[in-house]
Amino acid sequence: MVSSTAYLVLAAMLFSIGAVGLLVRRNPLVMFMCVELMLNSVNLTFITFGNELSDIGGQVSVFFVLVVAAAEVVIGLAIIVAIMRRRPEASADDLSVLRG
């Protein structure tokens, strides 16, 4: 019998790994994957709470998060493609046009 705590702790760990990865990696695609990782940890949290509280709302939230994440990936990848089409070796640090 696994308590919800374990799932939640697992989700927290996944989230922090994703956060650190986002800050450390320079390749835009890998950064994006870290974002997906964080989203997944959130999904896990939702499902866990939905299960514990016997509320279908948790799963509904995950459903919508999934949809929005998919749409977000589409747009994000389109942007990345548009930027990196000309310079395949570009990293996130090169895109500093907004420097003040």
């Binding site: 956060a19 986002l22 800050l23 950064m31 996130a92 640090d93 046009v97 907004l98 420097r99």
Partner: protein, 661 residues
């Protein structure tokens, strides 16, 4: 009938319309249409002024205050100034002679400015000037008067530097404007004080304030500050030095502005504010009187030594204004206004006459090249002689009556004052006679065109010599060529009108009995009983009058003796000290150019470094702070991600502090 006085708004409106019309299409209309339109505008204004006068006359004496408010001009908190006009006896008198003389001078200018490339511009400025002067006089509050005050100052600048391509003319205009500004400073401070005490600057409200609302000290301060302003505008010592230089402008300008209208604004202002003068210390009017006296004497001595015909008249104006200030300071406002009116007539006449002479002598203004012009310019000479007699104080011309009133007031005030003023009157007669003899009589110091270079033969002093072909072996001078001629009708008609006015204007206020003192009764409502009553017996008045007449004749005879038949060869320049105006003007210039300039430079440096420095402290701090903050904008996504995550951690930490574990 009584409602006619409400037409006062027409009086300044017509010159304003003339100005606006000419400013847009004047150039295209050109000569002489532009001149006639301006003259007609002024004539219409004069007609309106007559109607206002008639309307006021038709009212009862106690009711002669017509007030008209057009709209709220400055509604600013406690200060509420409206665009309002006040037609009372004083302003009605002023607008009558201002518009009348202005119309005549507009007519004169059509002939005088003939051939000038900027003909229409001249009339644009003249109409604008007339509008400003009328606003000055008709305004019912200090701010509106100040509007007109500044307006006439600006127009004076425009008109003095009308021929600005000659740098001397441009400098003269600047000098006039800047000297006036010094005076305006005093006017403004006085206005502020009045507002501070009364809470309003409308004449009606100020003068009907409860007694004791203005302390004596404040009233004295106000009057002295107004005196500064009046001294600037009416060319009293020490701010008179712009007036002689202002002769650089065309002669009609000198006649209108610097004889009849603008320079009288100071006297008008002091007369208008007579209730405040009444509230001041007793010695304050004495200050006014002595300033006037000093100026009168000072300028008269300088006028004796001038060779430029217009400069003589300029100093004469300064001197006569001094007379008016003496009258104001002695409490005889009626005498001051009386003298203002007669002076306007004969001084304008003298200036226009001199313009006619200058016009006929090919723009030569040096009297040393004149002589014997009476036969050749009969109308000019005849009218000029009437003006001369008036200013010298020879009865029965108007100048005698008004000057006598002023002398009476001086006598009533202080014997020494009277004596010195008498001396000034004597000098007036002297230098004016000198001018007339040198110009119209005596030997010609110029050569007619059809004769060679010959010295003129000595002749009788009373007639010009028609025979100028005789030679004098002793003189081998080269004389300038001239062909003097009489001026066109547009120029001598105003002269004739003014001469007749100068002759009969004495009827306004004959001193013989109370019934003939028309002007005094007329002006009573505006003076609120502040007119000083002269405590001289009627026998004493006769004696004073006779002394004045004797003095005038003495001046004329002395001049005749000295200058009657001056030949060119015997001409001696007068004292150079007097000719240079006692060195006052050059002293002021030296001060302003030397220590004055370094003082002003230090002011501007202070302003640039200290004042601007203080103001710039805040922007500099902001700039520096912004520069520091700027470093956070790296443009790098990962740095921003750090920021986001840090914020999220902070939120979590906050919530963690709220839960109990």
């Amino acid at each position: 009938m009584e409602q006619l006085a409400d037409l006062m708004w027409l009086v300044p409106l017509l010159p304003l319309l003339g100005f606006l019309f000419l400013v847009t299409v004047g150039r295209r209309l050109g000569e002489p249409a532009a001149g006639w339109i301006a003259t007609l505008a002024m004539a219409g204004s004069f007609g309106a002024a007559v109607l206002v006068f008639v309307g006021l006359m038709a009212r009862d004496e106690a009711d002669r205050f017509a007030q008209l408010t057009l709209f709220d001009w400055v509604p600013a908190g406690d200060l509420n100034v409206s665009m309002g006009f006040l037609a009372d006896p004083l302003s009605a008198t002023m607008i009558l002679f201002i518009t009348g003389i202005a119309t005549l001078i507009h007519l004169y200018s059509i002939g005088y400015m003939h051939g000038d490339p900027n003909f229409s511009k001249f009339f644009v400025y003249l109409n604008l000037f007339a509008f400003s002067m009328l606003m000055l006089v008709l305004g019912d509050n200090l701010l509106l008067t100040f509007l007109g005050w500044e307006g006439v100052g600006a127009c004076s600048y425009f008109l003095i530097s009308f021929w600005f391509s000659d740098e001397a003319n441009a400098s003269a205009g600047k000098k006039a404007f800047i000297t006036n500004r010094v005076g305006d400073f005093g006017f403004l401070l006085a206005t502020f004080l009045c507002f501070l005490v009364f809470g309003s600057i409308t004449y009606g409200e100020m003068f009907s304030a409860p007694a004791g609302s203005m302390a004596t000290v404040t009233a004295s301060a106000v009057v002295l500050l107004l005196l500064v302003g009046a001294a600037g505008k009416s060319a009293q010592f020490p701010l008179y030095l712009w007036l002689p230089d202002a002769m650089a402008g065309p002669t009609p300008v000198s006649a209108l502005i610097h004889a009849a209208t603008m320079v009288t604004s100071g006297v008008y202002l002091l007369t208008r504010m007579n209730p405040i003068i009444d509230l001041a210390h007793d010695w304050v009017p004495d200050v006014i009187a002595w300033v006037g006296l000093f100026t009168a004497l000072f300028a008269a001595t300088i006028a004796v030594a001038q060779n430029d015909i217009k400069k003589v008249l300029a100093y004469s104006t300064v001197s006569q204004l001094g007379f008016m200030f003496v009258a104001v300071g002695s409490g005889l406002y009626v005498a001051a206004i009386f003298h203002m009116i007669t002076h306007a007539f004969f001084k304008a006449l003298l200036f226009l006459g001199s313009g006619s002479v200058i016009h006929g002598m090919d723009d030569d203004q040096d009297m040393r090249n004149y002589g014997g012009l009476a036969r050749l310019m009969p109308i000019t000479a005849g009218t000029f002689i009437i003006g001369w007699l008036a200013i010298s104080g020879i009865p029965p011309f108007s100048g005698f009556w008004s000057k006598d009133e002023v002398l009476l007031g001086a006598f009533n005030n202080n014997r020494v004052l009277w004596l010195l003023l008498l001396l000034a009157a004597l000098l007036t007669a002297f230098y004016m006679s000198r001018l007339v003899y040198l110009t119209f009589f005596g030997p010609r110091r110029w050569a007619a065109d059809d004769h060679g270079d010959h010295a003129a033969a000595p002749t009788d002093a009373d007639g010009a010599d028609a025979d100028s072909s005789s030679t004098d072996e002793a003189a081998e001078l080269v004389l300038p060529h001239r062909h003097p001629h009489e001026s066109p009708w547009t120029m001598w008609l105003p002269l004739v009108v003014l001469a007749s006015l100068a002759a009969v204007a004495g009827l306004l206020n004959l001193p013989f009995s109370s019934d003939t003192k028309f002007l005094e009764h007329w002006l009573e409502p505006s003076l609120f009983g502040n007119e000083v009553h002269v405590t001289v017996s009627s026998g004493g008045k006769w004696i004073l009058a006779i002394i004045a007449i004797v003095g005038a004749f003495l001046g004329v005879i002395m001049a005749r003796v000295r200058y009657g038949d001056r030949r060119a060869a015997e001409y001696v320049d007068e004292s150079p000290l007097l000719a240079r105006g006692w060195g006052y003007d050059s002293a002021v210039s030296a001060f302003m150019g030397g220590p004055g300039r370094s003082l002003f430079n230090s002011f501007s440096r202070f302003d640039g470094s200290v004042v601007d420095g203080i103001v710039n402290v805040v922007p500099r701090l902001v700039h520096r702070f912004g520069g520091v903050l700027r470093r956070a904008q790296t443009g790098l996504v990962r740095s921003y991600a750090v920021g986001i995550l840090a914020g999220a951690v902070a939120l979590l930490a906050y919530f963690a502090s709220r839960t109990t574990f």
